[in-house]
């Protein structure tokens, strides 16, 4: 079938204004939107820039906005668009560096800020014992691939540039609820400020777009509840 793509373009060094390029590519129904982008780039227009790598939803590189919804281009299939025009744009909220590529520096800085590592006492000779029930408390957060779809989709992040954002909070969740970590109280305190967990107003957009089906909003709310428990 033929796919019509309308792709956001902008090179801040060369262009005064943003614009869209239209392309038509041949694609099989079972192919990915990423395959369509690759066909554009390899066969028609090598000036188009976007990120990609693993092409099956584990590396998180190719997060973009497809027909208004943040997603991984490698997880969306041609057949699901029934030949309609597909509009591909960069993730909202972030600064566009070129075409579909956005600046993720602040995104990664925030992940670094939550201290994305285990803080624990000296380890035993073998493994630290952790029951399957305790391991489950980390929940789906361990699936996070840091693709930034959640932040792109979050209306709060879009309005409030100081909001810590769902991805960094999910990373914090993973450590807060890891029974091996000894800094639970400090980590909860770190989340407890107006632009931290409390900025979240339960729009659920992060949960809706998460390509790994992490219940992001629920995890943010669980942190809120945990903070309330410790301060009440």
């Amino acid at each position: 079938m033929e796919m019509k793509l309308k792709v956001f373009r902008f090179d801040p060094e060369a262009d005064k204004k943003t614009y869209y390029s239209n392309y038509t590519v041949k694609a099989e129904p079972w192919e990915r939107i990423l395959d369509c982008l690759n066909r554009v780039k390899w066969e028609q227009d090598g000036t188009l820039s976007y990120r990609m790598s693993c092409a099956h939803g584990v590396c998180g590189s190719d997060a973009v906005k497809i027909n208004g919804r943040c997603a991984l281009a490698c997880q969306k299939l041609v057949k699901d668009y029934h030949g309609e025009e597909v509009v591909i744009e960069p993730l909202p909220t972030f600064k566009v560096l070129k075409d579909l590529i956005v600046d993720l520096d602040i995104f990664f800085e925030r992940v670094d800020w939550i201290r994305p590592y285990l803080i624990a006492s000296a380890p035993p000779e073998k493994e630290r014992i952790q029951s399957p029930e305790d391991a489950k408390k980390m929940g789906e957060s361990i699936r996070c691939i840091l693709c930034a779809c959640c932040v792109g989709a979050c209306p709060i992040s879009n309005e409030n540039e100081k909001y810590l954002g769902p991805a960094a909070i999910v990373q914090a969740f993973r450590r807060i609820f890891d029974s091996r970590d000894k800094e639970k109280a400090e980590r909860l305190k770190q989340m407890d400020y107006p632009d931290g967990v409390w900025a979240c107003l339960n729009h659920y957009e992060c949960t809706r777009v998460c390509p790994k089906e992490i219940p992001v909003t629920k995890e943010i709310n669980l942190i809120k509840a945990e903070i309330k428990k410790t301060t009440s």
């Binding site: 090598g46 560096l97 399957p132 691939i145």
Partner: protein, 573 residues
């Protein structure tokens, strides 16, 4: 602009990160990554990491060593395998201490499961040795090691592409990199360079590898005169999703999955009566291709079925949720009720840059190159020999990544700065200018697709002289055409067009090295199956292949295999 670090590590997957943690406290280290570190391909590893912890049933490192040696078809160097199998245990505990969220046994220990080629008591029956975090083991280890790098404040250069290795005589002087965001070419001077650049599955059309896996580190070492080792050994993973190559982990069979042909028959029962579907990858891949060739592919097409329908929804959700989701997304299949169409997909390169067991790169005389190290898939230590066992790649990365770091710490004080790195970027400037200045020419994508097709058709699971010869001549035509490659994108920001054109030189060079090495080895061993020489020939071929680039034809020579505990014998399961 010139940069300088005592130590430069190229690649921020598991090997690069683990080495960086070792070096980062002791020296000034710069970590170069073609992507963001958390997007490295180690993150795609699914099934597990092998270590004889004995948490589920009694196990020993000797059994792990034996399985690795037998799996390698006796081509692995046994001194290195002994290090791997012994140190795996420490390495997995270390990962747990760093916070890897492993699945747990009811007692709270690290859970283990069965995997291809892992056996108890020297081949008696399958054993549970694979430590895992559901089917995203690589991803969570990658995240954990990256967190540790963050904790240590390691300097990371994200989205910098390696474009050359600078050498002076038998010493490394630094590297040349391309900063993707700006298009700047920079030299980074270093006393020590560790190549941890991963594999190069993109030489093939259907592969489980990511787009970044173009073998830049391996090729630039080859171009700089380092001979490459055992390049003919290319692993095809039996269960790639048909048509896409997306991997369905071997853990699917470890949890009870069964391969079936068009008649519904479990054909692995005949090939490997003891461990059946859990035979090593080379054997399963050949068995599947044989079914397909003899007309027993599903609907007479070129795939078979992987049947997980008897495993149960709960167990699938707990242990195999990612692959269940892949099947749902890409095939619209519910794996708890329908079988998955699979065929072999290019997965792993056993060959690469030759190193000793301290990760020092070896020159054509087998001597270490001063300051140059390699670890991970880009290296050939060799612990995988002719065929790598599942779960041994993650072990390899963390065991030998750490050893590389330790050796660098030890060597650093004795190494003097080399002066050769000045103006090292000229060659890269020229290469970029040649491509950008060419007004009309060949498209990168066309040449790349043709090369991938040739390798897939003529140098995959089965090989023969006639095909390899034809492939080599066709590939050389593509190398000629590559001289005329041109691009659309003449800008400087995020110009992936130019990078893909430069990567293509690596892919074509490595494809040639695979073909020439495969033509030279006139026997069948591990993943290298020659239909015209179907038997393993220990008298003549129990040796490593080395291929070195010269002005004319690449030069082939050999070195012996180190055998310590286990003498070669027939490989049956």
């Amino acid at each position: 602009m010139e940069l300088k670090h005592d130590v430069v590590i190229v690649g921020a997957g598991l090997a690069g990160l683990r080495a960086a943690l070792e070096v980062g406290d002791a020296a000034d280290v710069g970590l170069i990554s073609k992507v963001f570190p958390t997007r490295s391909h180690s993150g795609a590893a699914q099934g597990g990491i092998g270590a004889a912890l004995g948490n589920e049933e009694p196990d020993s490192w000797e059994w792990h060593m034996y399985d690795t040696v037998k799996g390698s078809d006796y081509l692995a160097d046994q001194d290195a395998v002994e290090i791997l199998a012994k140190d795996a245990i420490r390495a997995v505990y270390e990962l747990e201490h760093m916070g890897v969220p492993f699945n747990r046994t009811p007692e709270g220990k690290i859970a283990q499961r069965a995997f291809g080629g892992h056996t108890k008591n020297f081949g008696e029956a399958a054993i549970k040795r694979a430590c895992h975090a559901a089917d995203r083991t690589g991803r969570v280890i990658l995240d954990t090691l990256f967190g540790e790098a963050v904790r240590r404040g390691i300097k990371v250069y994200s989205e910098f592409q390696l474009l050359d290795l600078v050498m002076e005589a038998n010493q490394v002087a630094g590297i040349v990199v391309y900063e993707l965001s700006s298009g700047q070419v920079r030299t980074i001077k270093a006393k020590c360079v560790l190549l941890a650049t991963g594999g190069f599955g993109k030489v093939y059309k259907t592969t489980s590898n990511c787009f970044a896996n173009t073998g830049d580190g391996v090729y630039y070492a080859y171009r700089a005169g380092i001979p490459l080792e055992d390049m003919e050994f290319v692993q095809f993973h039996p269960t790639g999703i048909y048509g896409l190559g997306v991997l369905i982990t071997e853990a699917a069979r470890g949890e009870g999955g069964i391969l079936r042909n068009a008649e519904g028959r479990r054909f692995m029962e005949e090939v490997a009566p003891t461990i059946k579907d859990l035979a090593p990858r080379d054997m399963v891949s050949r068995a599947m291709m044989t079914e397909i060739r003899e007309g027993r592919g599903i609907d007479r097409r070129d795939f078979v079925h992987l049947d997980l329908t008897h495993i149960g929804k709960d167990r699938l959700a707990e242990k195999l949720s990612d692959i269940s989701s892949f099947a749902k997304i890409y095939l619209g299949i519910d794996v708890s009720t329908e079988p998955i169409p699979v065929n072999p997909t290019c997965h792993y390169m056993m060959g690469g840059i030759p190193t000793n067991s301290d990760a020092q790169v070896l020159n054509e005389h087998g001597q270490p190159v001063t300051g140059l190290y390699a670890a991970g898939e880009c290296a050939c230590i060799s612990v995988h020999g002719a065929n790598r066992l599942g779960c041994n790649s993650l072990v390899d990365l963390v065991v030998f990544g750490r050893r590389a770091g330790k050796k660098i710490n030890e060597d650093l004080g004795d190494i003097a700065w080399s002066g050769a790195a000045s103006q090292a970027e000229d060659r890269v400037f020229d290469a970029i200018a040649r491509i950008k200045d060419r007004k009309k020419g060949e498209r990168t994508g066309d040449i790349r697709a043709a090369a991938q097709q040739i390798m897939t058709d003529k140098c995959s699971v089965f090989r023969k002289e006639k095909d390899l010869k034809a492939a080599l001549s066709e590939l050389r035509e593509l190398q000629e055409r590559y001289q005329e490659v041109s691009i659309d994108n003449l800008g400087s920001r995020f110009n992936t067009d130019i990078l893909e054109a430069l990567e293509l030189e690596s892919l074509l060079g490595l494809a040639e090295a695979i073909l020439v090495s495969a033509m030279a080895r006139k026997e069948s061993r591990g993943a290298h199956f020659r239909e015209d020489y179907p038997e393993r020939d220990d008298n003549n071929w129990l040796k490593h292949t080395l291929i070195q680039k010269t002005e004319a034809e690449p030069k082939i020579f050999h070195k012996p295999v180190t055998i310590t505990r286990f003498q070669p014998k027939a490989r049956t399961y």
